[in-house]
Symmetry: C2
Amino acid sequence: MRSEMGGARASFGLRLLQLARLWRQAVDAEIQKTIFPDSGWRVLVWLSRTGEKLRQKDLAAIMAIEGPSLVRLLDNLDKAGLVRRELDTGDRRARRLVLTPAGREAALAIEARLTAVEAELLAGFSDEELAACSALLGRLDQRLQARRGGAG
Amino acid sequence: MRSEMGGARASFGLRLLQLARLWRQAVDAEIQKTIFPDSGWRVLVWLSRTGEKLRQKDLAAIMAIEGPSLVRLLDNLDKAGLVRRELDTGDRRARRLVLTPAGREAALAIEARLTAVEAELLAGFSDEELAACSALLGRLDQRLQARRGGAG
DNA sequence: TAGGAACAGATACCGTGCGAACTATCCCGC
DNA sequence: GCGGGATAGTTCGCACGGTATCTGTTCCTA
């Protein structure tokens, strides 16, 4: 592999994939061992952050996962009493997702732990370089989402 | 604290996870529909890039996956006649991984397509910002790998 | 040199993501 | 109003990641 600038371009994708897996392992380990011994805590975080009665379709879109992937997560959270699927008064096909009090409490604890872990993982990086990198990733994200929906 | 910069810090992990999934979907779709209708093409790329008779343990380490995860990929590639597991003359526990001629050919085709797709996805980003971002991700990668192996 | 720890790889099983196919409901045109 | 296409959610089976455990081999040491 070349070590010039082109190298960053060539190995960017593989680096991204490995990094995401490692990041997920690290964060999951922290959250699951300290607070919430189940996956699907990401659903709680998103629901807590948006704070609205989302429909499943919208939550799936926000989380950038597919409907069926979300269903199983919600089944578990529902069984655990953390999330309820309320009926939508206007559309009997749809469900409105709401956190139960226990779910809201769990979400807050997870958010706190998540913030701590991520801060630890990102310690030593300057705000400026993180913001620049995050902006680049954000643009890439938009491009990929557009590509997924629109023409390939 | 600096709330505008803190945003990048707080959402960095979630962004990373979503982005990696989207990236993988985009690249997998391109590779699988044009060249190689199976996953595990990443194994071919790595074997082709290192070019040596790696042991499975070493390849797993390079790819940052676990041994058992690699075994299944190799089973498929072996069945497809793209990779062979040769006996190590010095250590009868170990296997040396080699690409068959068909495997080498497939790897080259995949590399070419991969380069094209990634170039397309990264078009519009400057070499400088990509290098900076990639360097940051690389440091983060090292930190996560160390964390996984060593103390939490 | 016999015995046990360490190690490479394989196997079995679980979690999480996906797409395809299905059900129930909505909406649009007639 | 009603038949057909679109939409929200579910179910099912597949792919790929992981851990725990097993087998065979090596290596170290008493």
